[in-house]
Amino acid sequence: MRHKAPLIDALLGLIAGVGLVALYAPLLATAAISFFQVVRVRGALGFAPFSLDPYAALLANGEILAALATSLVVAAVASIAALGLALMFAFYFVSARRGLGLAMQTMVFLPFLLPPIITGLSLLIAFREIDLGRGLVTIIIAHIVFIVPVVYRTVLVRLQLLGSSLTEASLDLGASRVQTLRYVILPQMRPALISGVLLAFAISFDETLITLFVAGSQTTLPIRLWAMMRVGFVPEINALATLILLFTAVITFAIGMLQRAGERA
C-alpha cells in the first residue's frame, strides 16, 4: 500500500539510514582497519596503505588457529547433538499429554533463560560432582544445554505447522511410523532443521560467558580473543573480527533464505 507522502517517506528513509549507520559503523570500521591499519605519522593519526599483513599474522598465530579449531568442533558437534535432542523433545511435546509436554518444555528452556552466570556455575558444579575434568567434552555438553532450546523452538514451530494430516495420509497409504518419519515428516521439516542447526552453530560459536566456567586449558575463540585483548591490542584481532563478521553474515543470510523457503512450502 503506497500513499503519496514523499516528505514522510524521505524522513523515514533518513531515520532508518542513520540507525543502520550507527549500528554498523563500528563493524565497518573494524573491517576497514583490518585492511588499512591506523598509524601515527609525525604525531598525527593516518591510514597505512592497503595491506593483508594482519591476515598473514593471523594465519601464523598458532594459538588463535587452535582456538578457532576448537570453536568449530564444539559448534559442529553441539549443534548436531542439539538437533537430535530437540527433535525428540518436539515429537514428545506434540504427542504427549499437554501438562507433561509443558513441564518438559519448561525444563528445556530454563538453561537458556537463566542468567548465563548461573547456568555456567551450575554446570561447573555438576561437572565437579561427577568428576568430569574441564576440557573439550565439558564445553560441548555446556553448549548443547543452552542451544537445545533454540533448535527445539525452530523445530517445534515447523512440526506444529505441519499438523497431523500428512502423517495420517502416510499411514493411510500403508506406511509405518518410521517410514512416515523418514519419507514425509523429516523432509517436510528440512528447512527448519537446517536453519535450527545454523542458528545453534552461530550461537555456540559466539558463546563466551558459560564457556568461561567450563573450559580448561583448551579454549574457544571468543575466550582466546578476550584473553588477548587484556594483554594488548594486536592487528590480527581486526582481521579475525572481520572474518567472523563475514562468516556470521553468511549464516544469517542462509537462515533467512531457509525460513522463507520453509514458509513457502
Binding site: 500428512l166 495420517e168 497409504l173 500403508g174 509405518s176 519419507y183 528440512r190 512450502a265
Partner: protein
C-alpha cells in the same frame, strides 16, 4: 450376503459431547454409498472411524466379519481421499502416486509401471514430473485419487472431495468418480453436504443429522418417500404442513390441518390417529388452478413469482398457515405467465404425492 463393512451401533464422544449415537451402516462390496448431512452432523467422524483415525466409545466395526478394533490405520485395506488432499508437497506427482507401493517395498520397476497405469486412469499421464504446487485444484484431486487407488483398496473413503472445486469442474469430477467406481468395481464411501451431488452419484444414501441416522435408501426412494421431516426438507424442497392424523385407510391418511383436511400417503405402518404429523408435498407435485374449485385442496394467495431459468417458482401465502410460504414449481413454458401477486388460486395434489411424516424436532436445515 455378508457386507464388506459393517458399522454396528457405533457411538462416539468428544469429552462430554456425544457426536455419534447408534450409527449402524453396512457397505456392500461394490456400491457407491454416500453419507449425506449438514455440516457438523458427524460425517467426517464416521469416515475417520472407518479409516482408523478415531477410536469408538461403543459398538463395533466389522470388515468381512472380522472386528477391526485391533487393526491399525496402515493395515486396513481402505484408502482415504482427504478433504484437503494432504498431498506430499516435497514429492513429485509420480512419487506421491507411487508412495503406497514404495512403503510396501515393491520393486522400482513395478512401481514405475503401476504409477504410469494409474496416472493414465485418472487422466494425469503427462504430469508425473510436476510438484503438487504446480497443479490446479482438480488435478490435485486426481493425484489424491490415484495415490489411493494404486494401493488396490477394497474401499475408498472420500471426505467432501468436490467441495473445493468450482461448479463446472465439480460436475465433471462427479461423472469421473462415478465411472471410476464402476470400472474399479470397489466400494466408495463418499461424504457430502450437497444433496444434489448425493442424488446424482449414489447407489445408496445415508442421511445423518445430529450424529444419528435419519434415513437410508436409494436416492429415488429417499426423494419420493422421506420418513422424517429432516429428510423431507434436506433432500430437495418440500412443502411441510403440520396437522393431526384424523383417519387412516390402508396407506391413505386424512390429516386435519389449520388449512383444512388434507390427504396423504403413509409409507409403512401409520402412527395412531390423533398423533402430530406433517404432510410433505414437493413443489413440482402441486397442481395450481387459477380458478379455485371449492371443496378440493386449499386456496392460497400468490406472494411472488420467481423465474429460475428452466423453472418458475411460485410462492404462496395461506391465511391459516402463518410464517410459511407454500411453493409450487412449474416449467417455465408460459403456463404460469398470467399469475400476479395477490391473486387467489387453488392448490391440489394427488394423495400419492403427499407423504405423511411423524412430526419430529424441527428440521435444522429450514
Amino acid at each position: 450376503m455378508q457386507p464388506l463393512l459393517h458399522l454396528e451401533n457405533i457411538s462416539k464422544r468428544y469429552g462430554a459431547v456425544r457426536v455419534l449415537e447408534g450409527i449402524d451402516i453396512t457397505v456392500a462390496g461394490n456400491e457407491f454409498l454416500t453419507i449425506l448431512g449438514p455440516s457438523g452432523s458427524g460425517k467426517t467422524t464416521i469416515l475417520r472411524i472407518i479409516g482408523g483415525f478415531e477410536s469408538i466409545d461403543g459398538g463395533r466395526l466389522m470388515f468381512e466379519g472380522r472386528d477391526l478394533a485391533a487393526v491399525p490405520i496402515n493395515r486396513r485395506p481402505f484408502n482415504t481421499v482427504f478433504q484437503d488432499y494432504a498431498l506430499f508437497h516435497h514429492m513429485t506427482v509420480a512419487e506421491n502416486v507411487g508412495y503406497g507401493l514404495k512403503v510396501r517395498g515393491r520393486p522400482r520397476a513395478e512401481i514405475a509401471t503401476r504409477v504410469a497405469e494409474v496416472m493414465e486412469t485418472v487422466g494425469l499421464a503427462a504430469f508425473g514430473g510436476r510438484y503438487p504446487a504446480q497443479l490446479s485444484g482438480g488435478q490435485r484431486q486426481r493425484v489424491a485419487l490415484a495415490r489411493a487407488i494404486i494401493c488396490e483398496p477394497r474401499l475408498i473413503l472420500l471426505d467432501e472431495p468436490l467441495s473445493a472445486l468450482d461448479v463446472e469442474l465439480r460436475a465433471q469430477m462427479q461423472r469421473f468418480l462415478k465411472s471410476l467406481q464402476r470400472r474399479l468395481g470397489i466400494a466408495f464411501v463418499f461424504i457430502t453436504h450437497d444433496q444434489e451431488e448425493a442424488i446424482a452419484l449414489s447407489d445408496r444414501i445415508i442421511v445423518v443429522n445430529g450424529g444419528r441416522i435419519e434415513q437410508e435408501g436409494a436416492p429415488e426412494q429417499l426423494y419420493r418417500r422421506p420418513h422424517t421431516p429432516f429428510t423431507a426438507a434436506f433432500l430437495g424442497e418440500n412443502n411441510l404442513i403440520a396437522g393431526t392424523l384424523a383417519a387412516v385407510d390402508g396407506p391413505l391418511c386424512a390429516v386435519d390441518t389449520p388449512a383444512g383436511r388434507l390427504a396423504a400417503t403413509v409409507d409403512g405402518p401409520a402412527p395412531p390417529t390423533g398423533s402430530a404429523v406433517l404432510v410433505a408435498v414437493r413443489p413440482e407435485h402441486v397442481r395450481l388452478d387459477a380458478a379455485p374449485m371449492p371443496g378440493e385442496g386449499l386456496t392460497a394467495d400468490v406472494a411472488d413469482v420467481r423465474f429460475l431459468g428452466a423453472n418458475v417458482m411460485i410462492e404462496l401465502r395461506h391465511a391459516a398457515l402463518p410464517g410459511a410460504l407454500l411453493k409450487v414449481r412449474r416449467l417455465a413454458d408460459g403456463s404460469a405467465a398470467g399469475l400476479v401477486a395477490g391473486q387467489r388460486v387453488g392448490l391440489s395434489w394427488s394423495a400419492g404425492d403427499a407423504a405423511l411424516l411423524r412430526a419430529g424436532p424441527a428440521p435444522a436445515a429450514l
